[in-house]
């Protein structure tokens, strides 16, 4: 126990560092929130906050999965396409008479299977994640169009649970936001408190060493891409309920928003470093930007300019700090 005090001492230095690390993106979010609410106080109205939470939940779920993927040093460009494909299949099942909640469950499992395809291409096929998921993005998108013939799938009936899933409230909180929060907690524990989470970091930090340490790298990766697919499908189900229809074009370029959120949250694209809490902040930053700029009446053209600049500044500040 002697050594302990010594350990604690530097622990403090590290604690501070890890606090600013967490605080970095958080401060950015705070500044943004203050700015927007000064400019337009209606931003802070409870109704808008609830709106905001519901709006971000879809990107959040995708970005959670993306966090795991990026932590292993990978990337998943196919999430938007998986969202569209699984949501079309789910809607198809509902229309053909499946119980909606069962259909959602099957849809999410299908999403996990699509994700597993990515994982297998990357591990067994030794493809770079970028190119593997770029190819499956095209493939899944194509399959969606083939399946839907380019038309939205409607007529999803009025099962109350299904409607609540995307549109309802639970204790006054929008159900999608509840789904998001519960998922966050589960994934937080998975990532930070279990061997699986550590293995995720270990693979991204040094894959060779992970392999030598007996980590079943391919298995972990396949599971992680499946998780990403599952979460994409889950967010697809929320979207399907919100829109009361499955859109063949749903989820286009959602991968980019998710990746941006992960990076804004301080997770390194080269893997091994980052936290899911940061991703939640990143998601909120993007959400507040979208919502806030709309509230401020900024034209959608300028919105893109602002978004680009905010991402640059946020990442630059993060780099400065860690340097």
């Amino acid at each position: 126990m002697k050594a302990n005090s010594e350990v604690l001492q530097t622990s403090k230095g590290n604690l501070l560092q890890s606090v600013t690390q967490k605080l970095g993106p958080f401060l950015g979010l705070l500044i943004l929130v203050v700015f927007v609410s000064v400019m337009n106080p209606s931003f802070l109205e409870p109704l808008n906050i609830l709106n905001l939470l519901r709006q971000v939940s879809i990107n959040a779920l995708i970005a959670f999965g993306m966090t795991f993927v990026i932590l292993t040093g990978g990337i998943d460009l196919s999430v938007g396409a998986i969202l569209a494909l699984s949501s079309a299949l789910t809607a198809g099942m509902i229309v053909s008479g499946f119980d909606p909640m069962l259909a959602i469950l099957i849809g999410c499992l299908l999403g996990a299977i699509f994700g597993a395809v990515n994982g297998l291409l990357i591990t067994k096929g030794k493809m770079a994640p970028f190119i593997a998921t770029l190819a499956t993005m095209t493939l899944f998108r194509g399959l969606t169009l083939v399946y839907t013939e380019g038309n939205p799938i409607t007529g999803l009936g009025d099962n109350i649970l299904f409607q609540l899933f995307g549109r309802g409230y639970f204790l006054g909180i929008p159900v999608p936001a509840v789904t998001m929060i519960v998922t966050f907690i589960v994934l937080y524990v998975l990532l930070h408190k279990t061997p699986f989470g550590r293995q995720t970091y270990a693979i991204g930090g040094n894959e060779k060493a992970a392999l030598i340490s007996g980590i079943k790298v391919p298995r972990v990766k396949v599971l992680i891409y499946s998780l990403s697919g599952f979460l994409a499908a889950l967010s697809g189900a929320i979207l399907t309920s919100r829109l009361n229809s499955a859109q063949p074009t749903a989820g286009a370029s959602y991968e980019l928003d998710a990746i941006a959120a992960v990076v804004l949250g301080g997770t390194s694209l080269s893997g091994g470093k980052g936290r899911i809490f940061g991703t939640m902040i990143g998601v909120l930053i993007i959400g507040v930007l979208n919502n806030g700029l709309n509230l401020l009446g900024v034209s959608s053209f300028y919105q893109q300019v602002v978004k680009g600049i905010v991402i640059i500044i946020a990442v630059l500040l993060d780099r400065k700090k860690s340097a």
Binding site: N51, P152, L239, N291, G297
Partner: protein, 280 residues
């Protein structure tokens, strides 16, 4: 011009280049073409530009390569399609455009609804229902698309005089975007009374946003697609400026046939627009 007039109808080949098939409107438009051609026993080759002007001119080249006798083009953009039309002209293949015009090149006929007029119809309807000076919002289509420009133009022709357009945001003809953009608009402008969406997809998204806000806001869409008609029946959508995409397709095939057979066709073939409300 090569004397295609001698060809039998069954030997004719029609090339159709669609701007995108990711939108039910254009799917119906395509179906209109294909059904009409089938009925006449004519072969149709369909290509889909996926909303990319550059891909579209490649597509048109590929159609020409396959020896089509007449080109039906639904341009992604009126300016960008001109060179493709010109190259078709240069080897004597007649061109008919659908839904959107071509700025340059010789086009035998344009089969389309009058989007400017459609925009005006929507604005007039709002004025008629809510009176002058009502606060309204506008959900715009893909920035730069001719339908966006023209519907916006028509809408503002009236609205700038008689209504107050307090919010105007692009939602890219997309239902999902229609939903989130509308949520934000409501938050920023709680007092709006009506919203004009440049198409039904966005209108349907907006309705979901309005429903969860608990407000009473009148939504007017554009297109008249199946979902929209159902929503009108259900009392959720106030009205839509209905186009008849399948009719546009049919008329285009007819015109194409006429041209190939050497008959004269009208330069502008209008497909009637109709304001659909619950009364209809």
């Amino acid at each position: 011009k090569p004397d295609q007039g001698e060809k039998k109808i069954e030997d004719l080949k029609i090339g159709l280049s669609v701007s995108t098939l990711n939108n039910p409107f254009f799917v119906s438009l395509k179906d209109g073409v294909v059904k009409e051609a089938e009925a006449l026993g004519i072969e149709v080759k369909v290509v889909d530009a996926q909303d990319d002007s550059a891909k579209q001119i490649n597509d048109v080249e590929d159609l020409i390569q396959q020896g089509v006798d007449v080109l039906l083009i639904n341009p992604t953009d009126s300016a960008a399609i001109s060179t493709a039309v010109q190259s078709a002209n240069s080897i004597g293949i007649p061109v008919i455009t659908l839904d959107r015009s071509a700025d340059k090149g010789e086009v035998e006929a344009l089969v389309a609804s009058d989007n400017v007029k459609g925009g005006e119809m929507a604005a007039k309807y709002i004025v008629q229902q809510l009176g002058e000076g009502a606060l309204v919002a506008e959900l715009e289509g893909v920035p730069g698309a001719s339908a966006t420009r023209e519907r916006g133009k028509g809408f503002h022709n009236i609205a700038d005089e008689k209504l107050q357009v307090v919010a105007k945001q692009a939602a890219d003809f997309d239902r999902t975007k229609g939903l989130t953009v509308m949520e934000n608009i409501i938050q920023a402008n709680p007092d709006i009374k009506a919203v004009f969406a440049h198409n039904d997809e966005m209108a349907l998204g907006a309705i979901e946003a309005i429903n969860s806000s608990g407000k009473e806001i009148m939504v007017i869409g554009f297109d008249g697609n199946d979902d929209a008609l159902k929503a009108i029946e259900a009392g959720q959508l106030e009205a839509t400026v209905a186009q008849q995409p399948d009719l546009i397709g049919q008329l285009a095939v007819k015109a194409g046939l006429d041209v190939v057979q050497g008959k004269k066709v009208e330069e502008n073939i209008p497909a009637p627009l109709k304001l659909v409300t619950i009364e209809e």
